[in-house]
């Protein structure tokens, strides 16, 4: 390189005059590049129109996206403050609240009073009528509690005197700058230094005092006001009910669900219960009970998730292993330099093509119909597809081997099988094993997706958790497990492959 003399400008021009193709030849490729880029841009514009991407993205509900994303890593507690006709209140929690039944969190501060009053017990039929709705003070009662059987439906209302504890003032503290206070048929909300006073004078009379701050919206005058506090949560203020949605970071009840006797106890309490406490369930030790409660946690279903994850792992492992075992002998038939029989080569190669082209989806459907939903279908689908793919790769690897080793073994008079064993196998075995490992790892990922069509594994569980749009935290949990498994297998497979065929194992 350094030996070349410098070319002067005049010499350069002389060269370009003699060999115009050398200098101008690149015009052709330049035009081709421009045409390719222009074609790409045109195709992207066409696709934009074909899929109506602008319209779909414009109509998307991005607020929901924020809520769903927040659901991945946080949960809401939703107490309702129900306001009776006389201004007294009750605070209730929904049936599957993360705090469990009989919750009294410290961020809900209540002032209670015991009152004796005469109220009318509404009949079931009357309760539906809108005029009656507000006069009844029993809206906090569970539907089952109010039913008195058929005689009560005949008498429309029956005066009753009861003594009960009611809430006269409820203060819900979201965080240091956000709180809602409900008392005397009025709600006061404070957020970001602004205060909103709302009078609740009966249905259709939800009236805000002063202008609404930016975080409050009231679509129709006199109706419900919605307060949005960002990630902290949100609230609805209606005439007879203030619904609170207080959001907390983390996964609620990840270890014990609300029905467990260990629910709500601190770590040290649980430990002392397990190792030195009285038996909670006479049939089993506290340790066994705790473990059982964790496995069958109704919210997180740990045992089921782990079983399904193991199914996915097993599907990938067994499917790939079988595919390797079947593709290995077949590829010798397909390679034209090993088996010198055109018909046999072609038949095997077309078999590989068929197995590969039918596609994992159709194999998955085929075997789901045959074996019923479950990992057997997934194993078979992966096995069939990858026998085709691995067979094709293996036979190509065989066709590219170095013939000298084979000739050497043959020249010392080895039997045909010994020629393959000592002349061919040492060359291709590391490559074969490396490719099998690669597919093992890659199939761990594809096993997730074919599971969603019923072929077993965690895919279907993921899909079901997503369909309700309310279990995003469970989706996050499963995704996390899948990511961990994929990363571990990726690492193991890379390690084994680099030991098999040296550092550049890709």
């Amino acid at each position: 390189m350094s030996g070349h003399p410098m070319i002067s400008a005049a010499e350069m021009e002389a060269i370009s005059a003699r060999h115009p193709a050398l200098v101008k030849g690149s015009n052709h490729s330049r035009i081709r590049t421009i045409a390719l880029v222009a074609g790409l841009v045109l195709y992207m514009l066409y696709s934009w129109w074909f899929f109506a991407i602008g319209g779909v993205l414009g109509n998307a509900n991005w607020n929901i996206a924020g809520t769903y994303l927040a659901d991945w890593v946080s949960y809401e507690v939703r107490p309702d403050v129900r306001i009776a006709g006389d201004g007294t209140m009750q605070v209730t929690y929904p049936r599957f609240s993360p705090l469990g039944p009989n919750a009294s969190p410290d961020w809900v501060r209540l002032e209670k009073e015991t009152v004796t009053r005469t109220v009318e017990t509404p009949a079931a039929t009357e309760q539906a009528a809108p005029t009656q709705k507000n006069s009844s003070s029993f809206s906090f009662m569970a539907p089952g509690a109010a039913t008195g059987g058929s005689p009560q439906t005949e008498t429309a209302a029956e005066p009753q005197t009861r003594t009960e504890e009611v809430v006269t003032r409820a203060e819900i503290v979201f965080n240091s700058s956000t709180s809602i206070t409900v008392a005397d048929r009025a709600a006061t909300a404070t957020h970001a230094g602004e205060t909103l006073q709302v009078r609740l004078d009966g249905p259709g009379k939800v009236i805000a005092e002063g202008a609404l701050p930016s975080w409050a919206t009231q679509p129709y005058p006199g109706e419900k006001i919605t307060l949005a506090f960002g990630f902290t949560g949100w609230a609805d203020i209606d005439a007879d009910k203030v619904s609170i949605h207080n959001r907390f970071l983390g996964w609620a009840n990840f270890i014990f669900d609300t029905n467990s006797p260990f629910f709500g106890k601190s770590y040290s309490e649980i430990m002392s219960l397990i190792f030195s406490g009285e038996r909670i369930d006479p049939d089993m030790s506290n340790l066994a009970l705790a473990w059982d409660n964790i496995l069958y946690n109704s919210e997180w279903q740990h045992l089921d998730v782990w079983t399904k994850l193991l199914q996915t792992i097993v599907m990938a492992f067994v499917g790939t292993l079988f595919a390797t075992l079947i593709a290995f002998p077949l590829c010798f038939l397909a390679a034209r330099n090993i088996t010198r029989n055109f018909v046999l080569n072609q038949a095997t190669k077309r078999l590989f093509d068929f197995l590969r082209s039918v596609d994992m989806l159709i194999w998955a459907l085929f075997f789901t119909r045959a074996f019923g939903p479950g990992p057997l279908a997934g194993i078979s689908a992966i096995f069939f597809t990858d026998t085709g793919t691995l067979g094709k790769l293996y036979s190509e690897a065989l066709e590219n081997i170095d013939d000298k080793q084979r000739e050497g073994v043959k020249s010392v008079g080895a039997a045909p099988l010994a020629v393959q064993r000592f002349g061919v196998l040492p060359q291709v075995l590391p490559v074969f094993a490396s490719q099998a490992l690669y597919f093992w790892e890659s199939n761990t990922r594809s096993a997730t997706i074919i599971g969603a069509v019923g072929a077993g594994g965690i895919g279907l569980k993921l899909w079901e958790a997503m369909r309700t749009n309310s279990d995003w935290e469970n989706v996050a949990y499963m995704v996390l497990l899948i990511l961990i498994v994929v990363f571990i297998f990726d690492g193991v497979s890379n390690l084994l492959r680099s030991r098999l065929i040296g550092k550049r194992a890709h």
Binding site: V56, Q311, S442, M466, I482
Partner: protein, 318 residues
């Protein structure tokens, strides 16, 4: 071996003994490894059979039930279903209403429904492969050791691509289905995100294997980072990039079919519906169309790759 050993010298016998010891140890490891593999395999098979809805040997006679579901009333039904021709069995049900899916371009010329949906699936695959290629291209130079000496940037970009690759496509599709409502766009987003990660990884490995002499030359004449990459590296890696792009396209055609089957539009969705409702002719028509398309795409891509990079195109890649 034993025939030769008596004639060995002392040191030769030592070497021989050592060699035999090594090979014995190696054989032990191999047997132990195979044994472990066998145990893992038996355990896995037992577990798979236990947790499956039907047991393997009970269900084996039903192996070809799916094929039985595909047998149409007569052979022509498949052609009619494929080309949206009216069927003589039409009884007003969804089973034989082939002409209803026609997509008219003019008053008389139409695209049959399944061809249109197949085109949609192909478009999902091509569109998302292009998006994946674009971002994978942008990212790969920051992940390559020879171009990005800063290991922090490199590590972040590589981890980012790994997460994109490993994140289950079903979840991305499901999440965007919830926001964007039904249609192909969730599938596009899911496949694109996966493709960015997958192509990015393959691309940076190509870049790391690139010849650094052109880059050195450009550095010597004072080229900045972008110029060095664009004129020194890109021209030599572009054929390989294109080859990987085509390979990914083959994979994405399959992936977008599967995502379609779980709600992402295209032919996959029709296939699932048709199987669910037991429409034999329609299902068979879709299966055949899918098979033909996949073979065509594979052949086209193999031909183009051979032209681009020669036999190198047939090395392992995913």
């Amino acid at each position: 071996m034993s025939v030769l050993s008596p004639q060995l010298s002392d040191s030769g016998a030592l070497v021989e003994r050592h060699w035999q010891e090594l090979s014995r140890r190696r054989r032990t490891y191999t047997i132990l490894g195979l044994l472990a593999l066998f145990v893992a395999l038996s355990g896995s098979l037992w577990f798979a059979n236990e947790t499956n809805a039907g047991k393997f040997f009970d269900r084996l006679p039903h192996l070809f039930d799916f094929v039985g579901d595909l047998v149409p009333r007569d052979g022509m039904e498949v052609v009619r279903a494929l080309f949206d021709l009216p069927s003589p069995y039409d009884d007003g049900s969804f089973k034989y209403n082939y002409p209803e899916g026609r997509l008219y371009i003019t008053d008389t010329i139409y695209i049959p429904e399944y061809f249109y949906k197949m085109l949609e699936t192909l478009n999902i695959a091509i569109f998302s492969t292009i998006i994946g290629m674009f971002f994978g291209f942008l990212l790969c130079f920051f992940a390559a050791k020879n171009l990005m000496p800063n290991f922090l940037v490199r590590g972040v970009v590589r981890r980012f691509m790994e997460i994109l690759r490993a994140f289950p496509e079903v979840v991305i599709a499901g999440f965007f289905l919830a926001i964007l409502s039904l249609g192909p766009i969730p599938a596009i987003i899911a496949v694109s995100i996966h493709t960015i990660g997958a192509l990015g990884k393959l691309f940076f490995e190509v870049v790391e294997n690139a010849d650094m002499k052109p880059e050195e030359g450009l550095r010597a004449v004072g080229g900045n980072w972008v110029e060095r990459v664009w004129f020194g590296i890109v021209p030599q890696v572009l054929p390989n990039f294109m080859s990987y792009f085509l390979l990914r396209l083959e994979i994405n055609v399959r992936a977008s079919t599967i995502i379609g089957a779980v709600g992402g539009g295209g032919i996959g969705e029709l296939l699932r519906l048709s199987i669910g409702q037991g429409h034999e002719a329609k299902t068979l028509a879709i299966v055949l169309l899918l098979l033909a398309t996949i073979i065509a795409v594979d052949q086209f891509s193999a031909w183009l790759r051979r032209r681009l990079v020669g036999d190198q195109a047939f090395q392992l890649a995913h």
